[in-house]
Each structure stands twice: as structure tokens, then as C-alpha cells.
Symmetry: C2
Subunit: 295 residues, 2 copies
């Protein structure tokens, strides 16, 4: 027995709905002959007459009527496939898994994501935070779709695109004498209480090296882990913090000022995805959105 055929089902439904093969034909955009043939094909498939021909008209048989419901179901479910495919095409449906440092999520990423959700309201987003090392692995192994990480990045399984860079700035308490300056040099920090973070991290080592090179001794008052905490200590006038300007921006208010620092120490964040597989359409859309956002 031949395979059942989608077009004959459509023809069948059109005949049932319109009541005649001619009308069905114009609805389907084909000729009456075509409809007639499709109907014959369907009748041959099921093995019995679906319409009996009376006075030149097509009258649905009992059997045909019992089939209509099921046929309509089948057709709509095929339709749904098309629809879902289109939604996926438009990237307005799906789930996006992103890994990024908490500080980055709280800062620049928040706006990026809220803008993306606005454009694609039916997309759900999973945000995860992990250590840079595991984040790298998660992206490479595709347990998340993409991630944001501080550069440089050389993991072989990752494809990386630099997105945004910022300089280290000095967060100075409002009441501090240096707060009046336009910018601070490394020598200006001699003898000042410092608040530093990221002990052992790449960016921190760079800072240590700069101080060594400038022969300025570091008077570290507080070691901490996050920009948020460092800033809150600054606002309590416990010292001057050297932080990533991009991340510190969000905590900038009356209690402190952010001053450019020289020598410049840059931080670069980039977008990473697995090099093993091309990005899904949705991930690509998100990537494009990021590019636009960061110009």
C-alpha cells in the first residue's frame, strides 16, 4: 500500500470544508482536475470511497465524516512544524545558556540581556557563573551556548571575539584629598591605603608589576574579591581601590569618584563559543546583539 499523502489530505479537507471539488480547487490554488485526482489517490489509499457521486456532486460518506476530525488534527500538527520552524528561524523561540562572571553580569551584561529579551520575548535565558577555568570548559563542551570571559584567552576548543575593553581606574573616596584630581599617576598612590582584589589573578599580577616597575611600594590595606565590595570600602573612606572601570561604573555615586589611572592597565572581555560546532541561530542572534550593543 502506498504511503499516505499530505496533499490528498489537504484536498480532502478543502472538499469537506467547501463542499465541492471545484471550490476546493480554487482554495488550494490548483485546478479541479487536480483535486479530483488527489481525491482518487486518497480513496485508493484508504481502500474505499470517501465520497459518493450523486447527481454530479460529491457527497461525503459516513466514513469520510469520521475521518475529518483526525485529518484536521494531522494537518494542523504538520502546520505546527512549519510554524515552529519559522519561530526558530526568527530566533524568537528557544533557550540560551550563557556563562559569565557575576561582576560582568551585574554590570554591562544586564543591559545587553534585557535588550535581547525585549527583541525576542519568547526566548528564555539561563545565566550561570563559574570560575574562568570551568566556564571555558562549559563553553567548549557546549553545556552552555556561549560565555563572556576576560582576555587573553587561548583555549583551543573556543572561538573568541574581543568585545569591550576598559581601563583600570582609581576609586577614591569623595572626601579624600586626591578626589579633586582629574587623573592619578602611580606615584600619587605612594603611601596611600590601597584596596585591591583578585589576588593571584592575571589582572592583579599586572598591577603588582606596574608598582614594582615604578618602584612605588604598595600599602595594601584590604584584599577582597569583588568590585562591589571594594567600592563599598572606598565609600567608607578606608582607602583607594584599583578596579576595572567598566565594572566599577555601576557603583559610582556621591560617595566616591572614579579617576583615570596611569600607567594604563587594560581589561578586555570577549565573547566565547565552542569551536567544535557552529553557533545555533539563537546564539548567533545574541552574538550579533552583543556586537551592536558594544559598537
Amino acid at each position: 500500500m502506498k504511503d499516505i499523502n499530505l496533499k490528498s489530505l489537504e484536498a480532502f479537507q478543502a472538499i469537506i470544508q467547501t463542499g465541492s471539488a471545484t471550490a476546493a480547487a480554487s482554495e488550494l490554488g490548483i485546478t479541479q482536475s487536480g483535486v479530483s485526482r488527489l481525491l482518487s489517490a486518497l480513496e485508493e489509499h484508504v481502500g474505499y470511497q470517501l465520497f459518493y457521486r450523486e447527481k454530479g456532486r460529491l457527497i461525503p460518506s459516513e466514513e469520510a465524516l469520521s475521518l475529518t476530525k483526525e485529518i484536521e488534527l494531522a494537518l494542523t500538527s504538520v502546520e505546527r512544524v512549519s510554524l515552529l520552524a519559522k519561530n526558530i528561524f526568527d530566533s524568537d523561540l528557544g533557550n540560551l545558556k550563557i556563562v559569565a562572571p557575576n561582576s560582568f553580569i551585574a554590570g554591562p551584561l544586564a543591559d545587553v540581556i534585557s535588550g535581547f529579551i525585549e527583541k525576542h520575548p519568547n526566548v528564555t535565558i539561563d545565566l550561570k557563573t563559574n570560575s574562568p577555568a570551568t566556564a571555558r570548559e562549559m563553553v567548549a563542551h557546549r553545556s552552555v551556548d556561549c560565555g563572556f570571559i576576560q582576555f587573553p584567552e587561548t583555549h583551543p576548543g573556543l572561538s573568541c571575539v574581543p568585545l569591550i575593553q576598559s581601563n583600570t581606574v582609581c576609586a577614591v573616596p569623595k572626601s579624600h584629598p586626591l578626589a579633586k584630581r582629574k587623573r592619578l599617576k602611580i606615584e600619587d598612590l605612594r603611601g596611600q591605603d590601597l584596596i585591591l582584589l583578585g589576588k593571584g589573578r592575571e589582572s592583579r599580577m599586572t598591577i603588582d608589576e606596574k608598582f614594582k616597575a615604578a618602584r612605588v611600594p604598595m600599602k595594601i590595606k584590604i584584599e577582597t574579591q569583588t568590585v562591589a565590595i571594594a567600592c563599598s570600602f572606598v565609600k567608607r573612606s578606608l582607602g583607594i581601590a584599583l578596579v576595572n572601570g567598566l565594572l566599577a561604573e555601576q557603583y559610582n555615586d556621591d560617595g566616591m569618584v572614579l579617576l583615570p589611572f596611569s600607567p594604563s592597565i587594560t581589561h578586555q572581555y570577549g565573547f566565547i563559543s565552542s569551536a567544535h560546532a557552529p553557533m545555533s541561530r539563537l546564539t548567533t542572534a545574541f552574538y550579533q546583539h552583543c556586537l551592536e550593543y558594544f559598537n
Copy 2:
């Protein structure tokens, strides 16, 4: 955009299930080239790659995976159409509406129907009883599928087939002197208390005529409507009933005897269906079953 295609969906599913186009091909009974083409067609339809080709293999993309569920649904629902069509073809699914006199249902039809249900366990049956006149109309107008009715029948919208015939018999109380006879003639009933039914009906008129022709006065003790009631009066020795032998059979027990009667008055029951439309497959199956049952 082209219409979506059933075969490409099947190919898609086979590829997902088996993991390769080659395996999918052998599952579908076509060649690998065919599968490759069908997949291309589907990708063209949805507008994006469903599999990315890596090292000569087909790897489903995220988008493809999100579609699998929906595609499987669509395919099974099309499958169900085929299945339902086959069930209808086998007449083991559906509903059969029958109209028949109560006495006929209680008697011969009960066995016919129970046999039919045994053969077609998923068929449901609606039994209705109406006056012969409305029964005729119901069948002609196809508000029921078929019916049983006493002949002769000349309604123009009905197609009629005689099924079974029986003779009028005398139902005589066991204790009655005539109960010893092998058969009764009309003269034997002279002066006997009679129990008759169906006043005004065709069959009753025939009885009245026979008495008139034989110049035997009728001493009607009881007029009633149903064979069941007539028989129960007989068993209480209230008189002799003239009833349709076929219908009286079921009430025949120790309390009375059924004796052939002459002149013979025959009753004929037939199968009726609408002449406007061919019988549905299920109705035809039921009709065939009736023919077999009544030989």
C-alpha cells in the same frame, strides 16, 4: 515558500533516530542519495541548516533537536489517520444507528446484534424504536443507518430487502382443551375468547378479513399492543392469542403452547436503508451479517 513535505519529515526523523543518512536510507528503504536530497529539501523549506556537516557526518543542530518532538507528533498524527482509515475499512470501528420495533429487537434482532458486536467489538450501536411511519422517515432521511420493518413496504426513499418471514400462530393456554391439537383452523376459534393486538395495523386487518371470509364471528376478549403482553394473558388462561410466531417464540414456556394456524397469515420483516445514499461500510457489514444470520 514551498509546502512542507511529509517525506522529508520522515527522512529527518529517520536521520535523527539512526544518527546517519545512510542508516536512515536503509530504514526508509531508499538510497542514501534520496535521503540526502530530502534533507536538503527540508532545510530549504525551513530556511536554515538542520544538520551541520562535520568530518563528513551529519550532526543535528540545536534547532533540529527542538524540532524533533514536533515532527514526531506530526508524523504520528498522520499515521493515525491511516490507522483510523484502516479501522473504518475493517468496519471494526464506528457507530451504527438502527431503528426497529421493540418486539423485533427483543426477539430475533437481539441475537443478530450480539453476534455482530462480537465480530466488531469497537462498534457502538444505537437502537431506537419508533412507529413504523417515523421509522421509515428516519431511515429515508438517514438520521439512522438502517432499520427493520414489517413488509410490504413501498416508501419511495427506502431500499428494502426481505429478510425473514413467519406465520401467525395461536398461543393457547396449556390447560385449554385445544392445547392438545397439533394445529388449529380458523373454525376452531369460533366462540373462543381471543386476545388480539395491533388494532388498525396491516397485519391485524388481515386477521379480521380472514375471520370475515370464514364467517367466524370474533369474540375479542382483550385488545393489547405487544406480543409479550398478549402471551402473558394467555398464560393466565384468559384466552387464545393470534400472534406472530417469530416474536412469540421467546415467550414460549410451560404455560402455553404455540400451534400453527390456518389459513396461514404470514408476516414478513425486511431490512431497510436509505435509497438516497449507498450504505456505509459498517452498515453494509451489518447487512451482510443479517443475511447470514437469517440464511
